[in-house]
């Protein structure tokens, strides 16, 4: 038995791994390199190929998907736990820098996700980018992303994780600024890069602190040390853990570092689907899963703060999706909100819950983005005020989009229901009852804005130009391919039930070294599941009443940028109606009463709720996001500007003065370190 397996079998709860080697495990490293090879190949020969290098990118990911699927199935049936590393460098006598690949439940889930969703999105992108510019560069950068992401998720230690982390950041920067002819897109790319860099400082510092404390960067060793309550690790666990979380906040767009993600929608839609919804932004959640034992056993003091940040993100940012007109921004705010769910669950201790939501979310959010891409492709606009009534013109896009929306909203029995329920259960079990209710409220908001998006895009009358057509098969087939897992994959983790013979998601992830403090509920909690489902249904019903059903509101759709105006108009209309009902006096008192209840009480509850939610949304967007968060950012910019004007007098342009300053500074530092400290 290997070292890992001994640890795994000794630990309580841990599931024994049936597979610790063999062909698929030993060669899994191929997955990590293939997309990078594809990247270089496309750069070299992509321009001259028929599909501008898409063949290479898709081929690489198709082979990878084979590995991902085989490993996934092997892990389902037998459980896989292995790790291959190669020593690259040695610092001092015992700090070793290794590269390699970990093959365990967590990384296998991500291998499957990145490769399969990636393959589907790549195929879709062939259709989406058909007449676009720089297609070869698009697929090259996309392959670079896939490779870096696999390096990230396959990392057996923090150093390799950081390498992949920076790689995906670079690819993200390339692709957000893909249409660099427009300065706004370049700025969006810069913003994403800067915000992520700020967070990366936390990640790197955290990695250094934790790694030096226990003399290794290896995740398994780190987990074991945390499980054993190692002294040196315990001394730095809170600081190191908080710094790692800060890094995760950047990549996973947690409040207040979420500001880059909506802007990142400047990139092509397949990029938004794969990177800024399904995989790259979940890297932070994945990191939390990798270092989970650290928070479980040593750094639990950080947890309430992490839960608070996650809760703010999931609710406050979700509200913003209500006032956005750009369909991709609606989905972006929704992604931030769902990442908030995952992060809250991970922070509260719901290891399986957070990762299961990551898993299902990847499918239905990628589906929604690809659907949005098909719509944008058809109407040549991102704005929902240019859409409407596309249900008839684009039936396949419509139905798959509805499936994705229902799954995201958490409707039984779609995937999103099971994963969101799992999070609520985990929050309740860990004692975060208030946060659990925020989660349920968040489920309501989610359903509400998704209903709005569906209604404004696909129902009512078309308000754009030209005649939109259904997307070609190369784009609709991927939609269907993503819709199936969005429906079915929730059954992987139904409480109290498991698919015969292969266990459930919790067990697949449980193949790991140290037991997590994770509690998977044995039976379904009907009250909790019911309230979650009820909140979602309420959101859909309310959203449908406000945006879908009533023909009279159709004309008002273009005024949604002014959210306070529309409910006011509606209220006036009801007052008139009421006055009509009373003065007409033709109905009996009971009829009048019923009419009054109907018109006044029910409708005003509906309207009041809608008004409140939307005002809150616009408040959060207008004051907190635009003025608060952006204000701080702008303030920092202005400060730097002022300091720059004062300091620029130092910039004489004389190289030798700079060199003299450099030499003098170096000498001063040496003197400082040698003689003073």
């Amino acid at each position: 038995m290997s070292r890992l397996q001994i640890l795994a079998t000794e630990a309580e709860h841990a599931v024994e791994a049936g597979v610790t080697g063999g062909f698929w495990v030993d060669t899994a490293g191929i997955m990590l390199v293939l997309p990078l090879v594809a990247f270089l190949l496309i750069l070299a020969v992509g321009k001259r190929m028929k599909y501008h290098g898409a063949e290479i990118a898709i081929g690489a990911l198709a082979i990878n998907s084979l590995w991902g699927t085989v490993l996934f199935v092997m892990n389902m049936t037998e459980g896989v736990l292995a790790q291959k590393t190669f020593e690259i460098a040695r610092i001092g006598s015992d700090l070793v820098f290794e590269l390699g690949w970990a093959v365990d439940g967590l990384s296998i889930m991500m291998y499957f996700l990145v490769n399969v969703v990636g393959l589907i999105v790549f195929i879709y992108a062939v259709g989406y980018m058909k007449d676009d510019i720089r297609v070869d560069w698009f697929f090259a950068a996309f392959s670079l992303f896939a490779g870096s992401m696999l390096i990230l998720v396959g990392a057996p230690n923090l150093i390799q994780l950081i390498i992949g982390w920076e790689g995906v950041g670079l690819a993200s920067y390339f692709l957000i600024g893909f249409y660099w002819e427009d300065m706004a897109n370049v700025n969006a790319g810069n913003k994403a890069f800067m915000v992520n860099k700020i967070a990366d400082v936390g990640l790197i510092l955290g990695a250094i602190i934790l790694g030096l404390a226990i003399g290794t960067f290896d995740f398994f060793d780190m987990s074991t040390a945390a499980f054993d309550h190692s002294e040196p690790l315990g001394a730095v666990a809170v600081v190191g853990g908080a710094l790692l979380f800060f890094g995760a906040m950047g990549k996973s767009a947690q409040f207040p570092l979420h500001i880059w993600l909506p802007d990142a929608m400047a990139g092509p839609t397949p990029v938004s689907a794969l990177m800024h919804a399904a995989t790259m932004v979940t890297a932070g959640v994945y990191l939390m899963g990798r270092v989970f034992p650290l928070f479980e056993y040593l750094a639990s003091d950080v947890r309430p703060w992490m839960v608070a940040i996650g809760a703010i993100t999931l609710f406050a940012i979700g509200l913003l999706a209500l006032v956005a007109d750009d369909i991709k921004k609606v989905l972006a705010y929704s992604t931030v909100s769902q990442l908030g769910y995952m992060m809250t669950a991970m922070a509260a201790g719901g290891y399986t819950a957070g990762l299961f939501h990551l898993f299902t979310h990847a499918f239905f959010k990628a589906l929604l983005f690809l659907g949005a891409g098909a719509v944008i492709h058809a109407v040549h606009s991102n704005n929902m005020s240019d859409m409407g009534g596309l249900r008839k013109a684009m039936p396949r896009t419509y139905w798959t989009f509805v499936v994705g929306s229902l799954s995201l909203a958490g409707i039984l029995p779609l995937a999103g229901f099971w994963s969101k329920d799992e999070i609520l259960v985990a929050l309740g079990m860990e004692g975060y009852t208030a946060v659990m209710w925020i989660g349920i409220a968040g489920a309501f908001v989610t359903a509400f804005y998704m209903t709005r998006a569906v209604a404004l895009t696909f129902h009512g009358d078309y308000k754009g130009h030209g005649h939109p057509h259904e997307a070609p098969a190369i784009m609709t087939v991927p939609l269907v391919a993503l819709a199936i897992p969005s429906i079915l994959f929730g059954f992987f983790n139904v409480p109290g039930w498991e698919i015969p013979g292969i266990g459930n998601f919790s067990e697949w992830l449980a193949v790991r070294v140290v037991p997590m403090g994770d509690e998977h509920s044995e039976a379904i909690d009907l009250v909790l599941a019911g309230s979650g489902l009820f909140a979602a249904l309420l959101g859909i019903a309310l959203g449908w009443m406000v945006w879908g059903k009533d023909r009279a509101t159709q004309a008002e759709r273009d005024r949604f940028e002014v959210p306070a105006l529309y409910p006011l108009l509606r209220n006036k209309y009801y007052v008139d109606d009421l006055a009509d009902g009373i003065t007409a006096g033709t109905m009996g008192p009971v009829a009048r009463f019923v009419n009054w209840v109907n018109d006044y009480v029910i409708d005003s509850i509906v309207n009041g709720a809608a008004f409140l939610t939307k005002s809150l949304g616009s408040f959060v967007y207008g004051v907190v996001d635009q003025r608060g968060v952006d204000g701080v950012v702008h303030g920092l910019g202005a400060g730097a500007d002022g300091a720059g004007s004062a300091l620029r007098k130092l910039q004489t342009g004389r190289i030798q003065q700079y060199a003299a300053g450099f030499v003098g500074g170096a000498l001063a530092l040496i003197v400082l370190f040698v003689f003073v400290i």
Binding site: Q656, A660, V663, G664, L667, I670, V671, V674
Partner: protein
């Protein structure tokens, strides 16, 4: 080791002579009033270091210095001097007028480095040099343990080659291009 012991060893006499000449040449490199002279003094200074390398049994490196530096790099420098038409006669404008700060900084550097050496390696001796390091050992190290840095360095040289050509090549004006085409 007392001073008498030190001065008694003939190899140290060689060191004194070579070291003095090397430092003198180095001083002239940074003070010479004539650009070509400065470059030629660099030849002398590097020749001195090559002799020092031989004394330290680093034969291969010594000959690499002679071949690469003195043979190739210095020729490059002389070409650079000629092409930029720097005055080959005396030129007082070769140095910037403010020499105090550089002198102070360089003096401070010397004191700091010298103090650090004396403090750390007060009486460490280079004893029993024996055989010179053979080229075989160096070659095996270069293509064995250090093969990746070695390849990286070769890549740097290639990049420098291409970069140098790209930077230094002059784009022809349309008129000139036409003339070239006509010929």
């Amino acid at each position: 080791m007392s001073f008498a012991d030190w001065i008694g060893a003939p190899v140290n006499w060689v060191f004194l002579v070579v070291g003095f000449l090397t430092l003198l040449s180095a001083l002239k490199v940074v003070t010479a009033k004539n650009v070509v002279h400065a470059a030629l003094f660099l030849v002398a200074a590097l020749g001195g270091t090559a002799v020092l390398f031989l004394m330290l049994s680093a034969e291969f490196v010594a000959w690499v210095v002679v071949l690469v530096y003195i043979g190739a790099v210095l020729v490059l420098f002389l070409f650079g001097i000629m092409i930029t038409r720097a005055p080959t006669g005396k030129d007082v404008g070769l140095d910037s007028p403010n020499k105090l700060l550089p002198a102070l900084l360089s003096g401070a550097t010397f004191l700091l480095l010298g103090w650090a050496s004396l403090d750390a390696f007060g009486s460490t001796e280079i004893a029993d040099l024996g055989e010179a390091t053979s080229t075989e050992v160096l070659g095996l190290a270069l293509l064995g343990r250090f093969v990746i840095p070695f390849e990286v360095v070769s890549f740097i040289l290639l990049a420098a080659l291409i970069g140098g050509v790209t930077i230094a090549r002059r784009d022809l004006s349309p008129l000139e291009e036409e003339e070239r085409g006509a010929v």
